[in-house]
């Protein structure tokens, strides 16, 4: 029986009076692609951010590959280097070119040599379909191109897990597909992925698991087909009817 690569136990996160997470138990197996959906404020992003410890849980534990992130002895930077994260607003480093965005962490975290990291940057930019944009600054790229550079930047660390926090929500409609295509290709390579997204087409095509969250709890955890065909909870039905209407 393989061990889960991500495991959360009774995860709680409070922001003052707001209880963003109220006891989430989740296990993600290696090579699984899990999509998290749910209304805004349901705790999806908070859960994702707890997985790489950008948010410190108020209560409970997160285990990555069996390592407890709450353990004081855990080297959090080393764990984070194994978890790539893609943000809604891309968060590219605006003072660096696309290529430098991809090589910076390779240099200072992975301590890779110049030639090696440049080669990796070239390969990744080709993989996300914009090899010609290597020496362009993020400000001169479209949203879709920026997000693809952001994905390449995360992949350059050779992560075991990729987290996507609404990666297409800030994009114009015509750019969503180019980002989803890159994510779809990534899913095919056997990458463990946890994606907060409302792109149902992507969920159906790539996800082997879909998790519906509401009010800080996991309400349903099943396959995409099962969720569409047979949502068990009223809240899930209501939510699906809202996002699938058009």
């Amino acid at each position: 029986m393989p061990e889960p690569i991500i495991k959360t136990v009774d995860l709680h996160k409070h922001f003052g009076q707001v209880q963003a997470l109220r006891g989430v138990d989740l296990e993600v197996m290696p090579a699984q692609v899990a999509v998290i959906i749910g209304p805004s404020g349901s705790g999806k992003s908070t859960l994702l951010r707890c997985i790489n410890h950008l948010e410190k849980p108020t209560h409970g534990h997160v285990y990555i590959d069996g390592v407890d992130l709450e353990d004081k002895k855990t080297k959090i930077n080393a764990v984070r280097a194994e978890i790539g994260m893609v943000f809604q607003l891309f968060n590219l480093f605006p003072h660096l070119t696309a290529r430098q965005n991809i090589t910076l962490a390779q240099q200072v975290v992975r301590k890779r040599r110049d030639a090696e990291r440049e080669q990796i940057a070239r390969d990744l930019l080709a993989r996300v379909g914009i090899p010609e944009k290597a020496d362009v600054y993020p400000g001169q790229l479209s949203g879709g191109q920026q997000q693809r550079v952001a994905i390449a930047r995360a992949l350059a660390m050779n992560p075991k897990i990729m987290l996507f926090d609404e990666p297409t929500s800030a994009l114009d409609p015509e750019m969503i597909k180019e980002v989803l295509d890159v994510m779809l290709d990534l899913a095919k390579t056997g990458m463990t992925m946890v994606c907060v997204t409302h792109e149902m087409g992507f969920a159906r095509a790539a996800a082997n698991r879909i998790i519906f969250m509401d009010e800080g709890l996991v309400i349903e955890d099943t396959t995409p087909e099962e969720l569409y065909r047979n949502p068990r909870h009223e809240r899930t039905k209501l939510f699906l009817s809202k996002i699938l209407q058009h």
Partner: protein
């Protein structure tokens, strides 16, 4: 025949033009007036024996060289520039360290830097300079039995630098805090430590953003350097005061000092504007 006619996207290019009043508004008339005024005042002053003597004394009290050669290389103007530049460089470095401490999560670093900034900003610069000149410098000298004694110029520089470090620290802090928190999160999510993220991601952006206010503070410091005259540093104002007390010609003495300060600050104001223009273009 096709109903769908090809729509041409080509359109004649329309150039946007400024109206006459916009052009008048954008032209630096104030600069023209200022430069003309200064030139006229300077030429007029050089006609007068008394003014020549006053200017001569301020830029070069030794009376050994001509005024033109005296500017920049002799006392007065030279000391003002020396005090300003050295104090500014020290304040830039010290301010950066304090600014980083001000945004640190470490309670000791945070409270130490906040204490420093609040104390320094709460004391008038003039008081600070007097205090260092007449309390700290003699105190250090006596405590070390004369082994460690700062000169008047060094004492003046210390006062300006320590005071301005507090102001610059706040400029840096504002710059660091103006960087979207997603930048730090992106850097940390790649496995960078806090220090690595600061050094490679946050500071390069923050410092770029605060270059204009930092350059502005250089001009402010140039003017505040006149304060060190109270501890008898022989810069422009002190030379002018000395001249006035010897000759009782306050008019010539202080007019000359004001003109020299104005020329210096204007030179740097134009430089600052140039720098601002260059750095405003965000990458």
């Amino acid at each position: 025949m096709s109903v769908m006619e090809e729509v041409s996207l080509a359109r004649p290019e329309i150039k946007s033009r400024k109206t006459f009043s916009q052009q008048m508004r954008d032209f630096p008339w104030w600069g023209v007036v200022l430069v003309l005024g200064i030139t006229l005042a300077f030429v007029a002053m050089l006609q007068s024996e008394q003014y020549r003597a006053a200017l001569q004394f301020i830029v070069n009290p030794d009376n050994t060289t001509e005024i033109a050669a005296g500017i920049l290389i002799k006392t007065g103007v030279r000391v003002t520039l020396l005090v300003t530049v050295v104090s500014y460089v020290i304040a830039l470095v010290l301010g950066l360290i304090l600014g980083i401490m001000r945004v640190s999560g470490n309670p000791i670093l945070f409270h130490l830097s906040t204490l420093y900034v609040e104390v320094m900003r709460g004391v008038p610069m003039l008081v600070l300079i007097l205090w260092i000149g007449f309390v700290v410098v003699p105190g250090l000298r006596d405590a070390t039995n004369g082994a460690f004694e700062l000169s008047r110029v060094q004492g003046g520089i210390a006062g300006l630098a320590l005071g301005y470090a507090a102001y610059l620290a706040e400029v840096y802090r504002a710059g660091i805090e103006s960087i979207h928190k997603g930048q730090m999160e992106a850097a940390r999510s790649l496995g960078m430590s806090y220090v690595q993220a600061m050094r490679h991601v946050i500071l390069p952006q923050a410092i770029r953003r605060v270059v204009p206010p930092l350059a502005n503070d250089f001009v402010a410091m140039l003017k505040d350097s006149a304060l060190v005259s109270v501890v008898a540093v022989p810069e422009i104002l002190q030379s002018a005061r000395l001249y006035v007390s010897r000759t009782f010609r306050a008019f010539e003495g202080y007019n000359s000092a004001a003109l020299l300060y104005l020329i210096l600050t204007l030179l740097f104001v134009f430089l600052v504007r140039y720098i601002e223009g260059r750095w405003r273009v965000d990458a």
